[in-house]
Point group: C2
Chain length 298, copies 2
């Protein structure tokens, strides 16, 4: 399959649905909603929602399943976007540029950006519990909400970001690096694939296999992110290149060098693809996504 | 009924359950969890969880219902605590004192406090979707999650806080003041009573009556908060008295004077109690709570 065409198509469908589900910037809360929309529609790669749709398709590629998975995919993107807004804040990574545009707080102020993040996080749970997800059976919805809340919560993404802050400027080893990545990035990526699988009515074995896929893909994604931060230019990334180095953060290249890091990313992708053995051609998008994740340039 | 004894008992039961449900400050995320726990166990009034339990008891005062309502009550307190942590941040109200103790960010830093808030908000949805709430039927859980997410979200509490920030230092009128309060404080208070009612299996009419109660009580609560900010001392409040005046915020006393404001609060309480007419003595805690809310000194 042609991965670029596939990604463009998926991104288009996700953005169409996000636009339909997101609040309009009208009425008394227009300014707050505008701040949420600014980052939500800033042209992200939409990797997490695409992984959610591809995870669903691996189990059942029918259109009804895909329609049921779309609001879950949108909720995941709301949560990812909130995390970027808060990570960029002056009190955190203090970044001015994200996806090639000024970061949320440089436009809406710190208070506006904190609240835009809070709003997107909360809105994600509205999407998962509201009429927009009503086609998913209730017990499955509850499991999806729990999976996402856990992955995004204190033992997942938020916890990982707090470790990342805590270790900044410290000499930490591989174990800590893995823990930061597993929680900060890996948990939500794995949850994205897993929730897609749940929507599609995956068996326990299928869900376990797709979680394994998610764990490996999450690792590969993070190693490549670290590599790109060293190798790519700011123009390619749409955010300041070399910012990890500047912030004195431990990364895969800083621990293992660029070459070994790239090998580790390739191995993780191979393991991700190997975990898809029980699946037929319906999992081809997941296979192509795994390969894309190491080959991408931003 | 003796309201102080009742409040102490309820608070004790809520804090006991919160302590059992909350993450322990051990393992790699200990520091982050410690920051969440610091504010969660800082001795709040626990008004929202108590309203949730009292709302449930008005419909069904049996012990099984109360046990089912407790995790929902705890989730509400997590969300309320997160909102206080974020409201106190330097970028927002910049408060150093809360509940008589240094605010979260003065202890854990701005990044730590932002993440503690994010963690508590997300953890609330883990509580609502996890095994701890499994005794509530799934369709009811979904409705509860939606009710809370909506009340806390962009058109509720977060939206209200963003209005509050936006209007600071501006001459706004009664309409805007009402809108800020309804969204910032009223929505979660009403949701607290309503979710208690849902857990108890309230009929549509009962739920509607309890929402009306919540709306009036939320209004009374906010008017009294405004009055206390003017009338009480910092020692009584546990947070800086006069901070609304300092921040040039429009309040009930600034618009209507203290005497009229107090009359408005009393009227709201009367309306709250009137909305409980369909309920028997099982709603006595709600009646006593409404009266307490105007008479409290902090």
């Amino acid at each position: 399959m042609e991965i670029r065409t596939y990604l463009d198509e998926q991104r288009h469908k996700i953005e169409e649905r996000l636009a339909a589900l997101m609040l309009e910037p009208i009425g008394p809360f227009a300014q707050h909603i505008e701040a949420m929309r600014y980052s939500l529609f800033a042209g992200g790669k939409r990797i997490r929602p695409i992984l959610c749709l591809a995870g669903a398709a691996a189990v059942d590629s029918g259109e009804p399943t895909r329609q049921r998975a779309l609001p879950v995919a949108c909720a995941l993107e709301c949560i990812h976007t909130y995390s970027l807004i808060h990570d960029d804040l002056p009190a955190m990574d203090d970044d001015d540029l994200r996806r090639g545009k000024p970061t949320n707080h440089t436009i809406f102020g710190e208070a506006g950006a904190i609240l835009a993040g809070d709003g997107l996080l909360t809105f994600a749970f509205e999407l998962l519990s509201g009429v927009t997800s009503a086609a998913i059976p209730d017990p499955t919805r509850i499991r999806i909400i729990q999976t996402i809340a856990h992955a995004a919560g204190p033992l997942g993404m938020v916890g990982g970001q707090s470790l990342d802050m805590m270790y900044e400027g410290q000499q930490v080893g591989y174990e800590e690096l893995r823990r930061i990545h597993r929680s900060k990035t890996g948990a939500l990526i794995t949850a994205s694939v897993a929730c897609g699988a749940m929507v599609a009515g995956a068996s326990g074995d299928q869900e376990a296999a797709l979680k394994t896929y998610g764990n490996h893909v999450g690792l590969a994604f993070q190693i490549v992110d670290d590599l790109l931060d060293v190798e790519a230019t700011t123009a390619e990334l749409g955010k300041p290149a070399g910012s990890d180095l500047m912030a004195d953060k431990v990364t895969y290249p800083s621990l293992f060098g660029a070459e070994t890091s790239r090998t580790m990313a390739r191995e993780a992708v191979q393991e991700a693809i190997a975990s898809l053995t029980p699946f037929d051609h319906q999992a081809d998008p997941l296979r192509a996504l795994a390969r894309y994740i190491v080959d991408r340039r931003k």
